[in-house]
């Protein structure tokens, strides 16, 4: 880490959160972080400090998030006994076989006796009647958890720390969210949202840092975090991505995009203005071509963690899309090209994950008009904040025209002060402006 001021500011914020949490005067504290802030190190710090005196629950929405927390904590203090309370059908003990201080159980009464219990929000909800209340509850990814999940576990502790990334996709439902939107009783609010709605004086401490995103991406990402000032932990030059020289006319455009991305951290590859299907075969071809070309040119990376150049692996590259149909097409085509390890998924499923290089299929690519789904700022944020080195956005020349003029009229809900359609419009515009100097045409 070479950006010492940024890092020390962040450390100070973490200390502020942890000491306030330990002081216990606030029933709840929120730590709001941008993408890649290193929230898990904050959670670790809080747990390790509290472990001295307190019994606690540590929770998160998904099994993968719990597993990451467990591994991080177990290594940080191998003497600290940790119990993972898991669903009966999901035994994770194979992951922790090397960690002697970790035990796994699916039985709530067994876990009840232990001081530190980690479990998904769902598992805690199912076990709540068998678990005694504790001193503290720490929830990671609290902006991904909804009010309903939070309701089930909130009685389990009088002191709560909610940590999360406010820029990602909000909880959603398969039925009409408008039935409840804006009501204080809305089950779809985020855990942080319902907490702040009912207790507006709850302290919200910002973590002004991103460890994942390079400086080139931090500046763009700020558009998704109004009111949250943050900088990259690394400086320009701390990381590098190099490729062999690209030759040949056939791949000129793809090579130019790769060169731009490796040099500046961004590239915007634009296909001609044409009306196309959402599962556009030309875009699939361009994306797969781009990735194939990438690996043909022997990509190597280095960073602040591994300072010598080493080969970039296919599993460190991901493609982010908006629709499952796009994902399926890409998966099949990538597999046919022998790129089975390259990750491809919808933004929903990429939340919380991290890669070296990302290719993002622009949500508006080829659409005849815009709507709330495609303008969603959370979706765009997730797509553009997964990478450590560079992100190549693939879209169509007509995308910018869709954002000309005025956003469509947005419906409103009393008590719901977010405006995802309007804010998404502005965020999309800001992103395209930012990408202008990295634009290349296919």
């Amino acid at each position: 880490m070479t950006n010492k001021t940024v890092v020390s500011k962040a450390d100070a914020a973490v200390e502020q959160v942890v000491s306030r949490f330990m002081a216990g005067k606030d029933p709840a504290i929120v730590a709001r972080a941008p993408a890649g802030a290193g929230k898990s190190s904050l959670v670790r710090a809080a747990v390790l400090r509290a472990a001295e005196k307190k019994r606690m629950f540590v929770s998160a929405p998904t099994n993968a998030q719990i597993a990451d927390l467990v591994e991080g904590l177990a290594r940080a203090n191998p003497a600290l006994p940790l119990v993972v309370l898991h669903a009966t059908s999901q035994d994770p003990s194979y992951r922790f076989s090397a960690l002697k201080n970790v035990t796994c159980t699916s039985k709530a009464d067994q876990a009840d006796a232990e001081p530190i219990v980690l479990a998904t929000l769902d598992k805690l909800a199912y076990s709540a009647d068998k678990l005694g209340a504790r001193d503290a509850l720490i929830i990671d990814e609290a902006y991904q958890a909804d009010s309903a999940k939070f309701f089930h576990v909130s009685n389990l502790a009088k002191r709560q720390l909610l940590v999360g990334d406010s820029g990602q996709l909000s909880p959603f439902t398969t039925v009409d969210a408008g039935l409840w939107r804006g009501l204080a009783e809305d089950p779809l609010q985020t855990a942080v949202g319902v907490l702040l709605r009912n207790h507006p004086s709850t302290p919200v401490v910002p973590l002004p840092i991103t460890r994942r995103l390079p400086p080139s991406a931090a500046s763009l990402a700020r558009h998704f975090y109004p009111g949250l000032d943050f900088d990259a932990a690394t400086s320009v030059g701390d990381r590098a991505w190099v490729l062999d020289a690209g030759k040949g006319k056939a791949t000129a455009a793809l090579d130019a995009a790769l060169n731009e991305a490796s040099k500046s951290g961004w590239a915007h590859l634009v296909l001609p203005d044409e009306p196309v299907l959402v599962s556009d075969p030309a875009a699939v071809e361009a994306i797969v071509g781009l990735i194939a070309r990438l690996f043909e040119r022997q990509p190597r990376v280095r960073c602040e963690k591994v300072k010598t150049l080493h080969a970039l692996q296919p599993k460190q590259v991901a493609v982010a899309v908006s629709h499952t149909l796009q994902r399926d097409m890409l998966r099949t085509t990538l597999d046919e090209a022998g790129l089975t390890d390259v990750h491809v998924d919808t933004a929903n499923r990429l939340q919380g994950l991290e890669f070296e290089v990302v290719v993002a299929w622009h949500p508006l690519a080829g659409l005849p008009d815009v709507d709330a789904f495609h303008l969603d700022p959370g979706r765009l944020c997730v797509m553009l904040t997964r990478h450590r080195h560079a992100c190549i956005v693939v879209g169509r020349a007509s995308d910018a025209d869709l954002l000309d003029g005025v956003a469509p009229p947005a419906p409103a809900f009393l008590g719901y002060e977010e405006e995802p359609l309007l804010d998404g419009w502005e965020a999309h515009r800001a992103v395209l402006d930012h990408l202008e100097k990295h634009r290349l045409f296919l």
Binding site: D122, Q160, V175, R197
Partner: protein, 478 residues
């Protein structure tokens, strides 16, 4: 719009003929549903200007409120409706059934809910007293208005939604919300082009709101009525009032007649389709819900006008579960809807070209597991490896996509059977088969804590009244 509805819509438009979108009817229809038309005054969401119902085309009951903005007159009109409609509802309920209402469109269902909301919390005594019948009917309407959220519910069937689920017309979703135009598209009169028939039908008013130009006429009639009503009592005044009221009734009757005919036509159009296998099960669920609600009301339990957090958490789980089961039921019941899934890249359809019942694989612990292989030849589809599917003819047969090979005759997908291989019949060579997304698994929901956590309790604690009774002066027109 899906690929299927797009193509069907294009063809409908070009050929001037509505296209069937399903093989079956997924809405259960009772033998004698209650068709109901409700009309409000524009801008007055809780008003009842005119309401009509009946069990058949010749069984028309019609109540008109000459001045819906006057509370006394409104209550009188509601009472007239309640005293006639409640016996019909009771008859349909006993012993273990439920009434089925059919309304022209979802907006009418919303209006019923608002009528319910208006009087569900009223009292039979006091300054704002309302007859017991009115309260009873209002509580039932209030329940139906909320129950409408339940995916696939059939206690109140909006005809526009039901018809446009089963047919695709050449007009837009918005235009399909006009029942007369939609009905005309699906079954135009002999020799009439569907486009023209729909255009001609646009003047029919199924409600709940009417054409503002017509409202000008009505406003004049209502003015006349009010004038007569407010004049000092005399024989002449009584006569004038009666005449004015008659004029208003005639106005509404003229609007109602064509809509009434369209309504019954729409019901018979719907009935002409063969019912889907699982539609009756959903009706059983609805009957159960209706009877539970009646039980609650008989026990004197009251509903809240505004649901609590716990209730909404429960409601959301309920709605999501029902939605998932409904969508699954549709596609497993109906070949056309299954085809729609295939076109959206969510399923497979093709001919079985190879079956290997003896195929096996080794488990993680080294045991040999029977995993028959089924190879299906399709035209399109690129489902990635490991996608899980079920055989549409028997969801107990579960499969996983192993590999896909493209060649000049189509796409061969190798499926590994992962469930049902011992007890179930598997698809055979030369069979045409659908493989679809697995039906939703039953999710046992965690128990909802009784105590509302601090995080979900507003500060300062405000208590919403359990039965908000709106006693404000409603009469804007005395």
């Amino acid at each position: 719009m899906s690929v299927m509805t797009t193509l069907l819509g294009a063809r409908a438009h070009v050929e001037s003929r509505a296209q069937r979108r399903t093989t079956f009817r997924h809405v259960h229809l009772e033998k004698k549903p209650i068709l109901l038309f409700g009309y409000q005054l524009a801008g007055e969401p809780f008003s009842m200007a005119s309401v009509a119902w009946g069990l058949g085309p010749k069984d028309l009951h019609h109540v008109v409120c000459p001045e819906p903005r006057n509370r006394t007159l409104s209550v009188t009109a509601f009472h007239a409706m309640a005293s006639e409609l409640l016996p019909v509802i009771d008859k349909a309920t006993s012993p273990k059934g439920a009434p089925q209402f059919v309304v022209p469109n979802p907006a009418t269902l919303d209006l019923l809910g608002r009528w319910g909301r208006r009087f569900a919390f009223s009292e039979t005594t006091g300054e704002w007293a309302v007859p017991a019948d009115v309260i009873r009917l209002a509580r039932l309407f209030f329940f139906l208005g909320r129950y409408a959220r339940m995916p696939g519910q059939q206690l109140v069937v909006p005809l526009t939604d039901a018809l446009s689920f089963h047919w695709v017309t050449g007009q837009s979703t918005l235009e399909n919300q006009q029942l007369a135009a939609l009905s005309a598209w699906i079954r135009p009169d002999d020799g009439v082009d569907a486009h023209d028939a729909a255009l001609a039908a646009e003047h029919v008013e199924p409600g709940p709101v009417t054409d503002p130009n017509e409202d000008e006429k009505l406003a004049t009639l209502v003015e006349a009525y009010n004038l007569a009503r407010r004049a000092s009592p005399s024989a002449a005044q009584k006569k004038a009032m009666a005449a004015a009221e008659q004029a208003i009734v005639a106005h509404w009757t003229a609007h109602l007649q064509p809509a009434w005919a369209v309504g019954w036509r729409a019901v018979s159009l719907l009935r002409s389709l063969e019912e889907a296998p699982t539609a009756p099960e959903r009706w059983t669920d609805d009957v159960g819900a209706w009877n539970r609600e009646l039980q609650r009301q008989q026990e004197g339990k009251r509903s809240r006008a505004r649901a609590t957090t716990r209730q909404l958490i429960w409601e959301r789980q309920m709605l999501e579960d029902r939605q998932a089961r409904l969508e699954s039921a549709w596609i497993y019941d109906d070949p056309m809807l299954a085809a729609e899934q295939v076109l959206e890249g969510r399923g497979l359809r093709g001919k079985i070209i190879k079956v290997d019942l003896e195929a096996s694989e080794k488990s993680a612990k080294g045991r040999t597991l029977t995993r028959p292989i089924v190879v299906i030849r399709c035209t399109g589809s690129l489902l990635p490896a490991q996608t899980r599917l079920c055989w549409a003819s028997n969801a107990k047969v579960t499969v996983e996509v192993e590999s896909t090979t493209r060649h000049k005759n189509g796409v061969d997908v190798v499926l590994k059977v992962t469930g049902g291989m011992k007890k179930e019949r598997l698809p055979e060579v030369d069979d045409v088969a659908f493989f679809l997304r697995p039906p939703p698994a039953f999710i046992k929901r965690p128990h909802l804590p009784e105590a509302i956590p601090w995080s979900h309790t507003p500060e300062p604690a405000t208590v919403a009244p359990l039965q908000p009774i709106d006693q404000d002066v409603e009469a804007s027109v005395p």
